[in-house]
Amino acid sequence: MSSTVTSERLLQVSIWRGGDDGRLVQYEIETRENQTVLDVVTEIQRRLEPSLAYRFACRVGVCGSCAMTVNGRPRWTCRTHVKNVVEDHALTIEPLRNLPKIKDLVCDLAPFIDTFKRAGAPFSGSNTRHEKPAAVKPDSPLRVAADAALQCINCAVCYSACDVVSWNPDYIGPAGLNRAWTLVNDVRHNRREQTFKMAFGEGGCGSCHSHGNCTRHCPVELRPSESIAGLKRAAFSGLPTE
């Protein structure tokens, strides 16, 4: 917040205050060099509105906890520069879409976390520490398929961007199905068949309309659309094999 003020013109910031029945409240702060959206929220909370609730932890794009809706699109606010998203010196910052609002910019992630269980997670291994680790070749087709879908940090940006989630609350959503795809391709997972059945069951991959919002918005550039397509193909061809 000590960086140089770059414009005479103030940044007009509308921030969601309250829960589901809340409203947008206007604030004005100075425009600065190298200012992220998270910097904006922090400055408002520290200088103008101490009761403003929001989440963040790492501030460097590792944890994903600062995800919010900025000018209508879900983003990691710590990795979003104001200059890249500001429209006519104005920003609108809201909590993530498709999740219940708790207070201000904080939403309840419990329904999102539940989707992983509904998609057949978590991993379930049968080996104990006394047995040798399973040998999985890095270039085996299953490992390659799983690799492409790993690195999800469960930030809920894709879940928030998904149209089908907003229409159908029973839909598991892209993150849960992406996780299911990694498990279906994991030979060490001893519930592969069950995970696949859950991912293809009610509210599963068959509900996806392939709009691609998830792939478009994923901050770590994963492709949940690809994972969901893989699950759909498996419905025809059976579980992937080596």
């Binding site: 000018n71 149209d163 392939s210 709009h211 659309s225 759909k232 193909r233």
Partner: protein
């Protein structure tokens, strides 16, 4: 349009869905017309002569174009969902322009065939 939907994959999905819905609206009329053949060739010809009306011809051109765009974008969905990636949604988004051109071409071919 909602900001999360401002990308080509969404546009392709919507064009596919809207063209499908419009074609579905036409289907009852199509079957009604075909069903008139059960009353003899004169009954069917009576309806077919309606196609000489320029407005009906224009509507038919619209239907052929809708069929073209729905067919092309349906192929995109099949490729997207049933063939192994590494193709990316972005790459398949380039499917939109060829689909539109294909539909336009099909519509023009219809006009050419029905006026020559």
């Amino acid at each position: 349009m909602h900001p999360t939907r401002r990308h080509q994959s969404y546009l392709a999905a919507m064009a596919h869905r809207v063209s499908g819905a419009l074609l579905a609206l036409f289907l009852p009329v199509h079957f009604l017309l075909l069903g008139s053949a059960l009353d003899g060739p004169e009954a069917l010809d009576h309806y077919l002569r309606l196609a000489d009306n320029p407005f009906v011809k224009f509507a038919e051109w619209g239907l052929v174009s809708l069929l073209g765009i729905h067919l092309a974008l349906g192929l995109r969905v099949l490729l997207l969902e049933l063939t192994p990636w590494p193709h990316r949604t972005e790459k398949l988004s380039t499917w939109i322009l060829p689909s539109a051109l294909f539909a336009l071409g099909l519509g023009l071919l219809f006009i050419y065939r029905s006026t020559s």
